[in-house]
Symmetry: C2
Subunit: 121 residues, 2 copies
Amino acid sequence: MILSFKPSVAQQKDMMIRIAEIEIIPEYLEEYKAILKEESSASVKIEPGVIVIFPMYQKENPNQIRLLEIYANREAYEAHLKTPHFQHYKSTTLKMVKSLKLIEMSAIDPETMQEIFRKIK
Amino acid sequence: MILSFKPSVAQQKDMMIRIAEIEIIPEYLEEYKAILKEESSASVKIEPGVIVIFPMYQKENPNQIRLLEIYANREAYEAHLKTPHFQHYKSTTLKMVKSLKLIEMSAIDPETMQEIFRKIK
């Protein structure tokens, strides 16, 4: 089930936007990416309030993972933390993570966000 | 004119994904954000090969700007650099930028990217 989410500019004010900066212990990298992939995919598919979890790694330093995360609001994020797929991700990857920084962001241009949503539909 | 872009997983292999880390000299911050907003908005609207330019700032350190940029391919990016709106952005903001890091990224899960595109439509 894919739940559609096309937020208005007003709704975007409630959104929680974050960049996660995660460094993985090299020996666990492939395993970590497989678990992360499963978790982010499930979150986007199942949770209507998870708008974007977009996992990437730095080409020149693949142990450096970056996630762009966008939640509909703080409640959607809190609910996300309680899901079985997030709990599984968190407990299995804890030992693989060398460092973790969660950086709260604000969108500079909510209208362009709308534009992007319209464009990639 | 909004040009729709719904890339297949195959097309996503050509995509250029980048995080720009930009620190702005505080006195120029508001002016910089206004110019950036204009430029990113124009790029997403006018250029079919600019899939995402999503500008953000760190809530706790607003001089720290982050951009998620996704281009259809390397050619789309090269064409973007030659547009009047990018040229205007670059020339007017040069003196405002304290530091600039362009970090090439890879998507960990192209299918979830598809999922996100479908979801926010």
